[in-house]
Symmetry: C2
């Protein structure tokens, strides 16, 4: 297969139905923006050995590569629309692997309402990497920022935290030597959350209407909340007992309390971290409920600096690591 | 330096003045599209050892990474507007190198009227790579396609061909063993064209108004014209003697006629290949002239299939390689 065969044989079906993708037969794509909308643009790369395992199922890799980008759009209050993808391989992968990748991308496209419109493939040394630039729409001026949290705002997260970090430990655990034991069902749940993050698309309208600030949690709650607080010039107090846990994570923490650190600082949650001013809290919670998205209030924004996670005794908990750093 | 230091210390100045870049302090950027315009989106990656040399000047690497993307926008008739950049390094480069990269990007930004609005950095094994997604504007529905060349159209290219391919040979030529000799001035000219491609921004209005099809030449004239002809369901006849050569390339070919193959099939030209219907040829040439861009008529689109390059005797010339393939 040459580049043209890959594009037409494997990826062109992902662009079907999007007029401005030109069947992936042109050098660029065209997007017709709705009148009165801004485009929101984000880029994230995933690479084998860093963000996924080389032997992960190709469909899971495709899902994740797209979902981590959609996660940023959602947290900004943007409706996902289209993406371009740059692929790099050290050696041409076999067609079955590429078709698997495309299957996972197609599943994520359907789940998040986004379409492939263009890309680039290259052979070069190093790990397989997938760089996606995702584009969404918001009403003009309504992108939800990370820099606008205010003292007094309530802090919310969507979904459950830490599943993916625990799932990563289990996924790594060829020798079954993870520092905790779980049932087969919980093991499968947690690994599934690591492999297939599901950012809460349905939360977009609630974020746009009611969040004072928002970002996705990709490098761990503590690190990402610290970034939001720093960018907004405020501090945050978080109630450790309010962090939302899945049944599987709850079972792990019940028997291995030290794993709470994974919940608070592990990466790859791809949930939304949002702040909401007191007068909008009820409306935000109601809108999330109508959308079918679980949101949990986990603390408050305060005057000050830094993030403190308070334990049941009211004392701040400190963690060895505060989260994932890209360097 | 951590990721935040790189972004704020090195790259944030590149985003200055673009409101929707939010000083590179947010997770995404916002673009406000002009009413009645489509966005044109393209992505291209460059990597050390594949598209540039590790010891190229960092500023040249930055220039090229952006220019190769702008080249696609220009060939589509789009006015460059904004870009996002995903950087991958095996080890954190030193700050001087990063500042050099930013200097080259800044120079290209000024030359092409485009601004950095977001990005992503990651440490991973493999070569340094820079993946840029560039976004431009065209009046709605006016992106110039590669699939719409028609039999009878005249074939034009901008600028001069082959300088970059000859420059690459010289740039590689540590042992001064290139298959041709050149003066010091011509050597410097040719290497400069390889390091700093200059796609013809000023040609955008002429392309939009008069080209029936257009694409940039990145993988060599023969390969890219074949792609355009195939995509349009036509063939092409090219007059080898009409290919535009710089003084430096002309000197090389005069003494080493076999280097004509580099002119016709070498990559990295980043010039525009455009077709123009007979009734628009005079207006296209006049518009290019007014814009200060050299365009040369090199042949015709014909009913049929494939591309033939005709020599002075009227016979088709065949080349060992038809151009650069990404795999």
């Amino acid at each position: 297969m040459g580049e043209a065969d890959i594009i037409q044989g494997v990826f062109a079906p992902l662009a079907a139905g999007f007029e401005g993708a030109f069947g992936l037969k042109d050098d660029a794509a065209a997007i017709r923006p709705p009148i009165g909308c801004d485009l929101v643009v984000t880029v994230d790369a995933v690479a084998a050995g860093v963000h996924f395992f080389s032997d992960d199922d190709a469909a899971d890799i495709g899902w994740k590569a797209l979902a981590v980008n959609v996660s940023d759009l959602i947290a900004k209050g943007a409706a996902p629309h289209a993406y371009v993808m740059s692929l790099a391989f050290p050696e041409m992968p076999d067609k079955a692997w590429l078709l698997g990748l495309a299957t996972g991308l197609a599943e994520a496209q359907r789940a998040f309402g986004i379409t492939l419109i263009g890309g680039d493939t290259d052979r070069r040394p190093g790990p397989v990497s997938i760089t996606i630039t995702a584009i969404g729409f918001v009403p003009a001026g309504q992108m939800v920022k990370r820099t606008t949290a205010k003292a007094g705002d309530h802090v919310f997260v969507s979904g459950a935290l830490g599943d993916s970090a625990l799932g990563l430990t289990l996924r790594r655990d060829g020798a079954m030597s993870a520092p905790f034991t779980v049932s087969a069902v919980h093991r499968s749940d947690l690994i599934g959350r690591y492999l297939r993050p599901r950012p809460p698309l349905a939360l977009v309208p609630a974020l746009r209407d009611f969040a004072s600030a928002s970002m996705d949690i990709s490098d761990g709650l503590v690190k990402d909340l610290t970034r939001m607080a720093d960018a907004s010039g405020v501090g945050a107090l978080i109630d450790c007992e309010a962090l939302p846990l899945s049944d599987a994570a709850r079972a792990v923490v019940a028997s291995h309390p030290s794993e709470m650190a994974s919940i608070a600082t592990g990466g790859d949650d791809y949930q939304v971290l949002a702040t909401v001013s007191p007068q909008h809290v009820a409306a935000f919670v109601a809108a999330a409920c109508v959308a079918g998205v679980t949101v949990s209030e986990i603390g408050r924004i305060i005057v000050g600096h830094g993030v403190a996670i308070l334990g049941p005794d009211g004392n701040a908990i400190s963690f060895d690591s505060t989260g994932y750093d890209h360097f």
